[in-house]
């Protein structure tokens, strides 16, 4: 890096300025630069992605937000919770004879007179929150990163914060909702009691989806040069950009706009909600959260991992092999296409015959296992009281001009365990009825209705739903209803960290494999369906859809990309076993 007149990591704005001046010097017309990049993004992309120094960029999180300096380069992984439209700013202006830019800053670094040569540019505002339900094992570690850039610009203050940070991290660790997870990863031999402890802890937090301190943290991301069409609500992104705590003036309430106090700076004080002027952003998918073990998806390996995962699930479910199979298929499901109202590929699972007692043993084991396997998980304990009080869907608050989040505003591929075992007879108020309706439509269509007061808007979702209930759930008509028949006590057994990693990798990899059905087999399947319907009139298109989804998942679970007759037979066998249980 020696010899470069800028340092992307330590002084990002310097680098921006440098590239801007360069561009202007090479004859770029500043007025044509609106919404375009003049090379700054390439510069950063080059340094961060290609030269691999991305890991040196500190991660912005609730814990270290107090320690980061303004104007430093940070990265932030979050979900777009709300879109706040666009903002116009003086993009470039002439300072004397020199063009200056205000890109990536809140307040001009130079004194801006009322220069006539000023260009108004726009940027888009996104309100981002940490990914809801992100499990601790999937978090990006922050400790390495924070010391790195500081090291290059030594400051007297530097040492203390780091110690503080360390201390805080330790504290956090002990307060972690499931300490079992950490230990499991670290010493790889968690005892049975530890597992139980973890399970117990996760139940006390249940009722509401976990809302810890960290979740109230949020960040206002300003995106440049991009039409907001590629960033969608509830998408998970990694943003790299310049951090500011915005000196957005307090004297904002000027005469013209005093009709509304709902301006940004009032409800999002820059001290609490840091601003991030995004230079590079990239969309994250689930596999970005599963670290390590980049294995080749060899068929043999996949089958082995599948076997061990299935064995583990069976053990957890008290030797109920059938249920374990269905759980595995359920964990692999995702919405892969939408045709009209129909979400193809969803496979919600309702395990019935769960009473309170079973829920506290098997249910908790299952929850904690899911938590270990998938990056974004939630648990929801549905009671009458909870249905009446919680806000499930996001609601627009026009006073503040913000979309207030609801517990079901979740990114793609979230997993929610819904525990209905504590549901008792009671009266639902209108909110409760509404909430129950939302759950129903989420299970049926994978859509959530956002409340914009004057109208409702359906927003598509892709949430895996696992429902535990005593009888068939009435609120949530799941695709699969499987009566749970354990034959022994739940046995978690010791889980090796390596095994856990392999399972995570397996779920993520296999889930995203392509899939097809050969024309020959299509014929077979068609005949089977026709035959089935001839013999049993009550079969509906939903049943057929479920069979085909299961067929897809069975072949994916074996690492294969096209349906074979054998898989189809497995599906029919599973359905038969399920039918027997349903009686």
């Amino acid at each position: 890096m020696v010899g470069k007149p800028y340092d992307c990591l330590a002084n990002p704005l310097g680098a921006v300025r440098y590239s801007f001046e360069n561009a202007v010097a090479f004859g770029a017309d500043p007025s044509s630069l609106n919404g375009k990049d003049w090379g700054a993004v390439d510069l950063f992309r080059n340094t961060l992605l290609d030269q691999g120094s991305l890991s040196k960029v500190p991660v912005l999180s609730a814990r270290n937000v107090g320690l980061l300096q303004p104007n430093m380069l940070v990265r932030f992984r979050g979900m777009i919770q709300d879109m706040l439209g666009n903002e116009f700013y003086a993009g470039a202006f002439k300072d004397g004879s020199l063009w200056r830019t205000n890109k990536y800053v809140d307040v001009s670094q130079y004194l801006m007179g009322s220069s006539p040569d000023m260009l108004i540019w726009e940027r888009h505002l996104f309100y981002c929150v940490p990914i809801p339900g992100l499990n601790s094992w999937a978090e990006e570690s922050t400790d390495v990163a924070i010391s790195q850039p500081m090291g290059s610009t030594p400051e007297p203050r530097e040492k203390r914060p780091r110690d503080e940070n360390e201390a805080m991290r330790e504290m956090d660790e002990s307060l972690e909702t499931s300490p079992g997870s950490k230990r499991m990863r670290n010493d790889s031999h968690p005892s049975h009691s530890q597992m139980e402890e973890a399970a117990a802890l996760s139940t006390c937090g249940a009722g509401a989806l976990p809302k810890t301190e960290a979740d109230s943290f949020s960040c206002l991301v300003k995106i440049y040069d991009n039409s907001d069409s590629e960033l969608r609500l509830n998408d998970v992104f990694e943003f790299v950009g310049v951090l500011t705590f915005g000196s957005e003036c307090q004297a904002d309430n000027d005469e013209t706009m005093d009709g509304f106090s709902g301006e940004l700076s009032v409800h999002m004080p820059p001290g609490k909600v840091p601003r991030l002027h995004c230079i590079i952003h990239r969309k994250l998918a689930v596999h970005d959260f599963v670290h390590g073990l980049p294995m080749e998806p060899k068929p043999q390996l996949i089958k082995e991992v599948r076997q061990s995962l299935l064995a583990h699930l069976t053990a957890i479910l008290g030797n109920d092999t059938v249920a374990a199979h269905f759980v595995l298929l359920h964990l692999l499901s995702k919405v892969h296409a939408r045709i009209e109202d129909f979400a193809v590929g969803k496979l919600s699972l309702n395990l019935t015959c769960f009473n309170k007692e079973r829920a506290s043993t098997f249910g908790n084991f299952l929850c904690s296992t899911v938590k270990e396997l998938l990056p974004f998980t939630h648990k929801m304990l549905v009671t009458i009281d909870y249905l009446n009080k919680a806000s499930f869907a996001p609601k627009k608050d026009y006073e503040r001009n913000r979309l207030m989040t609801g517990v079901l505003q979740l990114p793609e591929s979230s997993h929610v365990v819904i525990d209905e075992t504590q549901l008792e007879a009671g009266t639902l108020n209108s909110d409760g009825v509404q909430n129950a309706r939302l759950l129903t439509s989420l299970t049926e269509f994978q859509k959530l209705e956002y409340d914009f007061k004057y109208y409702k808007m359906d927003v598509v979702a892709d949430v895996q739903l696992l429902i535990l209930s005593e009888g068939k759930s009435n609120i949530m008509p799941a695709d699969l209803v499987v009566p749970f028949r354990p034959s022994s006590e739940a046995a978690g057994g010791a889980v090796l960290a390596e095994a856990l990693k392999a399972w995570r990798w397996y779920l993520v990899t296999v889930r995203s494999l392509p899939h097809s059905i050969d024309p020959d087999l299509q014929k077979v399947v068609e005949n089977d369906l026709v035959y089935a319907r001839q013999s049993k009139r009550s079969l509906t298109s939903q049943d057929f859809s479920r069979w085909l989804t299961m067929g897809r998942l069975v072949s994916l679970s074996l690492g294969e990309t096209s349906l074979s007759l054998e898989h189809w037979q497995t599906v029919k066998e599973l359905e038969r076993l399920r039918g027997e249980r349903l009686g």
Partner: protein, 807 residues
């Protein structure tokens, strides 16, 4: 020269950030006053003085008493060498001035010869403004475009300047017509050619005229904004001249103007002598249909002045025309340093409410009843209309629309055709005598569970104008019609509309019709034929319009349809209500291998990797709704002679089918209600083709649709013929004949065996006797009881318990 049209100082500079801080838009000023006036020809190359802003440039056209008016007065006579330009452009003020004048004077609607003696549209309009002493005049931008495209473009590009000139010209003309007219007339432009999407607003739109559609979500309270301030000296009590707002600020006089006093810093504002105007900030949000998937709605702030204040309420859908502005944010009110941020808002010029439904069936409600402009409806722009017309020309449009209707529900082609007719609707006719015939088509779907009836209902609900969806189980009579409540705020009793009234001119979808309570159902009788809801409750007696089509669906009472019973027995609906449905479809789940195979194919295709391939050639929802709403609005088909003839012939033939040769049995196969239904259906079919006249083949198709529906629901299973009595009375003619036979046979037996006043006879014995007679066939006890009941009413027998007595 006394011409007073002091032109604005056009030092226009979009780039100076601090200029926008002053009072809002010029042309919304209402109280003209003799303000400080500038020399009229000075602005040309004046250096951009740190901007006095175009607001300051507000033309302050004083009531120009006694200004003799001739065109040269404001013509900036061509001889004058120094042309004025709008600052930073090559737009000549004089040219614009002349162009506007030409437009106002000469624009006439229609193809009136230019030299016609009639006055121009806007001259007439101006007269009306003067007469009514209004403060604004609406100008249709489409007129402007037709007359002078160049001027239109200039206006859109430089609205502030052009509108300022516009008003000057207008005021000049006004003063020439009525020298004493004191009010300032604003120009309100509406109906721009291109309506921008809120999402597309970007820096290049700043200071341009834009037109947006959206929904009002918040209105601020009304803010009084100072226009002119009056100060008083605390020392001597001298009142200053009114001080006008300059750049959003009032220059407080530093010393008393009275020469004798001249005290320093003694002036104090006198509130009640200042003049104020109303101002309001309104927030507009994108309408749901403009939001792309995965986005949240954008909002934009609007600034309303004077008459526009409170013109819209939260929840209203409006189309506004205004000037997009950006305003820099000061760090503090005192400091001149500005932040690099801008606030944007739209200075509103005109607001127009649009109706709430997706398919516009009503004329949009206008905010101000300006002049004739209701003709145009913004939703159908020319390109769209052209596209729709092209679509309608296609020979297979009927099939194509049928395919596009709920494409994910396969089969049920004829049901979909019926629903399509319902969406398009027939013509409502109101005779001079007061009799009216509904144009709405009512449809009932009866069928086995799991045959996607509800899905169809939901789909129609989404598609239809003002669709209301209710479930029979959850609806009460008042919920459907109207109810009286106390207003929580005022405590007055108010009439609240129920579902049927709310879906006036729309489709009311009622699911689980059979589960509806009888009282609720009885309300439907009036709605479905008279199309009104009459209420007499708590001192309110009213008849509300409910011109709604009813789409209902019902499950057979025994969960599965029993083909041996009639429709009435299957769904337990009163025949009176049933006969009000134009079409009754039975959707039965028949074991049909062909259909199962198609279903299987569909699902397999759905799940194989390539979902696009199965998308048939269907119209998307948006096109479909526009197509339907255009047809409903613009196409009013009438019966052609040929079609009318076919209708009569077909009806007679249908009636004839009830007469079996050589039999006295008469079955009613069609009633006058059917002929009305047929007319409606054929009108709807003509509408589908965008045809103004109903052709013969429409009638033929209508007969087919009716027959398909009747065949399913009104077929007498014992004879296999259509029998309307099944629907009108619930009893088929053959059944009735059987009953008659039984009754007469019973009578014969009684006549034979019993004497008047003699011993009684048990029913079982009668049954035995009947069974001996071959002519009656199988007889059940219940049938016998019915027969005896009939005889009892005739006064022949008395039934006591199980024994019969002749009297």
């Amino acid at each position: 020269m006394a011409s007073d049209s002091s032109p604005p100082r056009f030092n226009y500079g979009a780039s100076s950030p601090d200029d926008s801080y002053s009072s809002p838009i010029p042309n919304t000023m209402s109280s003209p006053s003799p303000g400080p006036r500038r020399g009229r020809r000075r602005s040309r190359s004046s250096t951009p003085v740190p901007n006095p802003s175009r607001f300051a440039a507000t033309p302050s056209p004083a009531p120009m008493a006694a200004t003799p008016s001739s065109s040269s007065e404001y013509g900036y006579d061509a001889g004058s060498s120094d042309q004025m330009y709008v600052w930073g452009t090559n737009i000549s003020v004089q040219e614009v001035n002349a162009a506007i004048l030409r437009f106002l004077r000469n624009f006439r609607e229609g193809n009136v010869a230019a030299d016609s003696l009639e006055e121009g549209k806007y001259m007439k309009e101006l007269d009306r403004v003067l007469e009514l002493e209004r403060e604004w005049m609406d100008v249709d931008a489409a007129d402007l475009y037709d007359y002078d495209q160049d001027l239109y473009n200039k206006m859109v590009r430089y609205p502030l300047e052009v509108l300022a000139i516009f008003e000057i010209v207008l005021m000049d003309i006004a003063s020439s017509r009525n020298p004493l007219y004191e009010k300032h007339v604003q120009v309100r432009v509406f109906n721009l050619r291109n309506s921008t999407s809120m999402r597309m607003l970007n820096p290049s739109d700043i200071e341009k005229m834009v037109s947006l559609k959206g929904m009002i979500i918040r209105c601020s309270s009304i803010i009084p904004e100072i226009r002119e301030a009056v100060f008083r000296c605390l020392v001597c009590g001298h009142y200053s001249d009114p001080v006008r707002v300059e750049r959003g600020r009032i220059g407080e006089p530093t010393r008393c103007m009275k020469e004798e006093c001249a005290a320093k810093d003694s002036m104090q504002l006198v509130h009640n002598r200042c003049s104020f105007t109303d101002k309001q900030i309104v927030r507009l949000q994108e309408t749901p249909d403009e939001i792309p998937e995965g986005g949240t709605p954008h909002t934009v702030s609007l600034l309303m002045h004077d008459k526009l204040v409170d013109a819209g309420k939260p929840g209203d859908r409006v189309e506004i025309t205004g000037v997009y502005r950006a305003m820099s944010i000061r760090v503090t009110p005192i400091h001149r340093t500005v932040k690099s941020l801008f606030k944007t808002f739209i200075d509103c010029l005109h607001i127009k409410k649009t109706s709430k439904s997706r398919m516009q069936t009503d004329d949009p409600v206008e905010v101000d009843n300006g002049f004739n402009r209701i003709e145009e409806d913004g939703t159908f722009d020319e390109a769209m209309v052209k596209k729709l017309k092209e679509l309608s020309k296609q020979p297979d449009i009927y099939d194509r629309l049928t395919r596009s209707l709920a494409p994910n529900i396969w089969e049920l082609e004829d049901v979909k055709r019926g629903l399509l007719c319902q969406l398009f609707g027939g013509n409502a006719v109101r005779l001079i005598s007061g009799a009216s015939f509904r144009g709405d088509i009512n449809i009932l779907l009866v069928g086995d569970p799991g045959t996607s009836k509800s899905q169809l209902l939901h789909y129609i609900h989404k598609l239809s104008p003002r669709g209301i969806y209710t479930s029979g189980r959850g609806s009460s009579a008042v919920g459907l019609t109207a109810y009286v409540t106390k207003d929580p705020e005022t405590g007055e009793t108010v009439l609240e509309s129920g579902a049927l009234v709310l879906s006036d001119k729309g489709i009311c979808c009622i699911d689980e019709f059979d589960k509806m309570s009888d009282s609720a159902r009885s309300m439907l009788h009036e709605v479905m034929e008279q199309q009104t809801v009459s209420v007499a409750k708590a001192g309110i007696i009213a008849s509300l319009n409910a011109r709604t089509s009813v789409l209902a669906c019902a499950n057979p009472s025994g969960s599965r349809y029993n083909p041996r019973l009639s429709v009435i027995d299957n769904i337990h609906l009163p025949p009176t209500l049933l006969s009000r449905f134009d079409l009754i479809y039975l959707i039965l789940d028949k074991p049909d291998e062909q259909m199962d195979r198609r279903l299987a194919k569909h699902i397999v295709a759905l799940h194989s990797e390539d979902p696009e391939s199965m998308q048939q050639d269907v119209l998307d929802l948006h096109i479909l709704t526009t197509y339907i709403s255009y047809a409903r609005k613009h196409i009013q088909p009438t019966l052609s002679d040929e079609a009318a003839e076919e209708l009569t012939r077909g009806y007679v033939e249908l009636r004839k089918r009830g007469n079996f040769p050589g039999s006295s049995k008469k079955v009613i196969t069609a009633t006058p209600r059917q002929i009305e239904s047929l007319i409606r259906l054929s009108e709807a079919l003509a509408r589908i083709r965008f045809s103004e006249s109903v052709e013969k083949h429409d009638v033929v198709e209508a007969f087919r649709l009716l027959e398909v529906a009747m065949q399913q629901s009104a077929t007498d299973h014992s004879t296999g013929t259509i029998d309307m009595d099944l629907i009108t009375t619930g009893v088929s003619a053959s059944e009735r004949m059987r009953r008659d036979n039984l009754a007469s046979a019973t009578r014969n037996i009684i006549m034979e065996k019993l004497q008047i006043g003699g011993p009684s006879m048990r029913l079982l014995e009668v049954l035995e006797e009947l069974k001996k007679q071959t002519s009656v066939g199988e007889v059940h006890m219940s049938a016998l009881r019915n027969a005896v009941g009939t005889l009892a009413t005739e006064g022949i027998v008395v039934l006591q318990g199980d024994s019969l007595k002749r009297v």
